[in-house]
């Protein structure tokens, strides 16, 4: 490995010259970790994350990561990185689908323990029947763990979000785990142009001394400390302590908004904000919707796109603002539950105008043609009472 110099996060994120590479998402993970000054990685292989797990091993062999091992399963991987984070070092891991579910007990535990762990989720479907294919149903489940959740559209965004996740996570007033999610295969195995800052520059190291909780090293005061103390005596005081603790975890997520805005810009990217029809979506569904949007606009349909990059903390204000202008909102998703449509509908008061779909899952691709067709069908049905400024091209004969 080249000798790395420590530079400011701003330098890496915004200022350093970038070089074009042609990478798959799993390689982009390695490129991010190479520059992230990570101390400990523990990881377990699971398709489609495995290549990233290999790359992380290579980075350990090259000296970019100080300690690394293949854990015994995802629950214990998430436990091991928690232990390392409690010991005051920067950690990273990655999993997906069945691994996410196997590990699940640890995610609210990370948040409750205020551990700034960054975990990549290369989402995939869950059994049964067996699948290894893309499907982001797990993001909906992760959303209520107390973790911050980002959703990247492509390898470039995956790279940038992972690096930025460390800096957002480690703010003393935030200090929460961050899940950086992508749609498995569509990002992990897709090769695209990724622009990278120099590999001889790295983020400043994690500083455990500004942690809002006690680092478990017998150096941090107070030495009389259990992480985390039981507040489970059967009385009102204990219940209130636990309730307040949960609120504080959510409050920390609220505080992250300032840093997310600073480092990641808007949590919602809007294209054609004035449009009367809006795709509101996330991840690779946004990529597919971009293509569908262009085709529909070529046909004269006034349609735009709002891509939601941050799922937690959910960008309520930005979503409400984007939604306010549109008369019809369509939410394409890569899962059967429609967790994103649910999130959006719960924020927008006139939510009868929000349509969840099209949805594909189980590994199916979402061809832009399908989004185009479904959109036209919907608009044809709604056209009459939409008060559209001009007639729609209806697909239905």
């Amino acid at each position: 490995m080249p000798a790395q110099k420590i530079v400011s996060p701003e330098r890496i994120f915004f200022e350093a010259p970038r070089e074009k590479k042609f990478l798959i998402g799993n390689e982009a993970v390695g490129e991010a970790i190479k520059r992230a000054n990570v101390d400990v990685v523990v990881v377990y292989p699971v398709t489609p994350q495995s290549e990233a797990a290999h790359v992380l091993g290579d980075l350990y062999a090259q000296g970019y990561i100080k300690d690394y091992y293949r854990g015994e399963d995802e629950f214990n991987v998430m436990s091991a990185v928690a232990g390392a984070a409690m010991g005051g070092v920067r950690v990273f891991t990655a999993t997906c689908g069945p691994g996410t579910l196997r590990a699940f007990e640890m995610f609210p535990c990370w948040a409750g323990e205020r551990l700034p762990i960054v975990c990549a989720f290369m989402t995939r479907g869950v059994n049964a029947p067996l699948t290894i294919q893309p499907d982001n149903i797990e993001i909906g489940w992760l959303a209520d763990t107390g973790m911050l959740i980002f959703h990247a559209e492509d390898p470039q965004e995956f790279f940038d979000m992972i690096l930025k996740a460390f800096i957002v996570a480690e703010q003393p007033d935030v200090h929460l785990p961050v899940g950086v999610c992508v749609d498995g295969f569509f990002v992990t195995h897709t090769r695209e142009i990724v622009e990278l800052p120099p590999e001889d520059e790295a983020l400043p190291p994690y500083d455990p001394s500004v942690s809002p909780v006690v680092t478990m090293d017998m150096e941090t005061v107070p030495v009389r400390h259990m992480k985390d103390p039981f507040v489970m005596k059967s009385n009102y005081i204990s219940y209130n302590a636990h309730a307040s603790w949960q609120q504080e975890v959510r409050a920390a997520a609220e505080r992250s908004r300032k840093y997310i805005a600073k480092y990641m810009g808007n949590s919602v990217e809007v294209v054609h904000p004035e449009a009367e029809v809006l795709f509101m979506t996330s991840g690779t569904a946004a990529a597919q919707a971009r293509v569908a949007m262009e085709r529909l606009r070529e046909e004269g349909i006034d349609i735009g796109l709002a891509k939601i990059k941050v799922i937690r903390p959910f960008p309520d204000q930005e979503v409400m603002e984007a939604a306010a202008r549109a008369r019809t909102i369509i939410v394409p998703e890569h899962n059967i539950t429609g967790w994103l449509a649910r999130e959006i509908k719960s924020r927008v008061s006139d939510n009868a105008k929000i349509f969840g779909g099209p949805r594909v899952f189980g590994g199916m691709t979402m061809p832009p043609e399908v989004i185009v067709t479904e959109t036209k069908k919907l608009l044809a049905e709604r056209g009459g009472h939409l008060g559209l400024r001009r007639p729609l091209v209806a697909a239905r004969g």
Partner: protein
Amino acid sequence: MKLDVRMSGLGGQGMVTAANLLGMAAVNDGNYGIVIPFFGAEKRLAPTESYVRISSQKVYEKGEVGHPNAIMVFHPEVITKGKCYTMPFYEGLRPNGLLIINSAQPLLSPEDARTMAKLNVTVLYVPASEIALEVADTELATNMVLLGGLVGATDVVTLAGLEKAIAQRFGGAKFIASGTTAALDDVLKRKYSKLQELLGKNMTAISKAYDLVKAMVSEGAPIAGRREVTCTTQRA
């Protein structure tokens, strides 16, 4: 400029490598490329596909190419025995598109041939495995020959861009490949004592097919629209 390519073959024939090289070549030319492998747990000799989208504009679309402009068939059994992920193998092929088949002689059924004719598709037979054996002394270069054929027919990337891509892919820089692909890489690298030799042989295979296909195109006449073209080597 925009070209969507689907490559169909059997696991181990280098569809993913070819797709990567094509995408890398496009990027080397200053264009945009997006390469998608077939997502599966399938193994060697199992039906496999890979996909490339090339454009002068940024490409957003992910997932398999459902409506290709060009289909490359790496193994005759994709057609004759239906060993193909997409059924039939030409499903979604756009009108006026291109179909390149690794075969010395025509093997489309009369029915498929009629369908291709109706779509005004150019069907190009290239004896890629034979050429690979002849110029590179290994069938593992079949993918290179087919790439040469595609470029000869479409000029979607430059030969210089492709040559650079081959150096990037095999030139020792870290490249993340699946376990099986990595194993086949090792076979190739063992075959040639020097890396330069491997790069040279690959490029020769590409050029050979490129020249053959170019030669089939009469001066100034576009290849699209010709019905069935059989490229033959001198030996064949």
